[in-house]
Amino acid sequence: MKKINQLATPYIIWAGIMILLPMLLILFYAITDSGNGIVSFRLTLKPFGKFFTDPDFLLILWRSLGIALKTTIICIIIGYPVAYYIAGSDDRVQNLLILIITIPTWINMLVRTYAWIGLLSDGGLFSTILGFAGLKDVKLLYTEGAVILGMVYNFIPFMILQINASLSKMDHSLIQAAADLGANRTQCFLKVTLPLSLPGVVNGIALVFLPAVSSFFIPKMLGGGQYYLIGNVIENQFITVGEWNFGSAISIIMAVIMMAFMYVVRAIERRNSTVEEDDRRRRGAAL
């Protein structure tokens, strides 16, 4: 049985080649100007310069962040009450509802996004409904709204599941205590439930904002090429243009922005949770 730890060795080598090396290669290509070769290369920051001096690329980056932010806010506003409602039901019902919400996330995102093309196209279900409501000839497909809808549709289950997880984990006697001490329902929610569910919201934001920023087939299918996002630029550089150095540089820019965004979000969360921890410590001392 002593030799059993050696069973992991082949995978450690494999993970080095198939997981770590690819990440290093993105970094390498982003800062070199090697004309797509690895033997002779020069260090350069030109791809970054190219990105930040081109107003078109900056506009696309700005638009991507805007769409991802809108998607995230909509997911919180709609997802929170749904998660709250689910967390308040009986355990059996809760498990069933969570399963119902989880199942679609397992079905191919591409297929589910494609389905919206038919629903949103002219003469489709939604434009017919709007037609009855007196809004004829409203363009639905190939708009920013369609792209945001597609993203909300694909990513909101993750927000609901994360918020629900933190709500159902929380100690409900705290609400009881707050109510006994004279807090009304709104106060109970704002002062107890909401701060305690914040970690779930933050995890939800990570699972919505990050894929929304980097997504490329949702804008392509529902935005019809008019709503190019940063993911589309990366796809284009690698698949069509073949400028790997530039494509890698854009991926690095995207990754840095994502990390910065999550850092800010987690910092906000931490500020709130330290307050809560202090309370807990004080409570502990009082006991």
């Binding site: 049985m1 993970a15 397992w106 038919g118 003469g123 549709y153 609400i175 439930t193 990366i234 698949i239």
Partner: protein
């Protein structure tokens, strides 16, 4: 005795909350409407994606007659089966090995495994693409299989490791004291105990591979396409064959999800029954 009285108080809210219920129902409709729509229109007898004109299976017939489409069905299944088999075996063996490794190594591997799980898929995809380009490996079926194995193993390990952690370490020793070789102890004692984890890991791997688009799209070449890539390239024009393929994909994944949720319960029940019989 006071438990019952306080139980209701302990819930997040005591009222019936009609608004929450309405929102939830709308949400479920929102989630399932597109899926129902795709399945419904795969049986439409016209090319329209907006008006259901009558029932037919014409799109399925076209799908099964199109050699290009059948090629991508074949590719999808072949890649998924190989990736599942390899990643399940390698993932389980590695997880077993890591359980006896130093903590530093175990933490390091877990950390590295988080990359493909946490990174945006497009980053994993271009990383693998750059790897194959740099090493001069021509992209095609082989690179697709390698890439799928690479992103499936972390999920298998994620599902097997907790089962190994909850094993009684004395079991294997006991088996060997009773005359088993280490290999026999592994196969006859350890593997049966972690089987539910291996099984759900394999099913997760299969679904991930079967459903994958982004990574396959970047690492493929020579015209090799899986179903997702075919849907993507065809979706630029109205083509109800996509609805037929989509329905097949949805049916496959739903079937697997049912298996994942039902089979462990059945295994558990038969095991309990056997224990009772003994």
């Amino acid at each position: 005795m006071m438990g019952k009285k306080y139980k209701d108080h302990n819930k997040l809210s005591r009222k019936k909350r009609p608004i929450g219920r309405l929102l939830l129902i709308l949400m479920i409709i929102f989630f399932y409407m597109p899926i129902v729509f795709v399945i419904l229109f795969s049986f439409n007898d016209s090319k329209s994606l907006t008006a259901f004109t009558g029932f037919s299976t014409i799109w399925y017939e076209k799908l099964f007659r199109s050699s290009r489409m059948m090629d991508s069905v074949y590719t999808t299944i072949l890649v998924a089966v190989i990736a599942t088999a390899v990643s399940t075996i390698v993932g389980t063996i590695t997880a077993l090995g890591l359980s006896k490794s130093k903590k530093v190594i175990r933490d390091l591997v877990t950390y590295v495994n988080d990359f493909p799980i946490m990174n945006p898929e497009i980053v994993t995809a271009i990383g693998l693409m750059l790897l194959f380009l740099t090493l001069g490996i021509e992209r095609g079926l082989g690179t697709m299989i390698l890439a799928h194995i690479a992103f499936c193993i972390p999920y298998v390990m994620l599902s097997v490791m907790p089962k190994i952690r909850s094993l009684d370490p004395n079991m294997a020793d006991a088996a060997m004291d009773l005359g088993c070789t280490p290999w026999q102890a592994l196969i006859k004692v350890i593997v049966p105990q972690i089987a539910p984890g291996i099984f759900s890991g394999a099913l997760i791997a299969f679904t991930m591979s079967f459903d994958d688009f982004i990574i396959s799209y970047f690492v493929t070449g020579r015209g090799i396409k899986n179903l997702s890539i075919s849907v993507y390239t065809m979706s630029k024009r109205v083509n109800p064959i996509i609805n037929a393929i989509s329905t097949l994909i949805i049916a496959t994944i739903t079937l697997i999800l049912i298996l994942v949720n039902v089979v462990p319960i059945i295994i558990e029940k038969t095991r309990k029954k056997n224990e009772n019989d003994n």
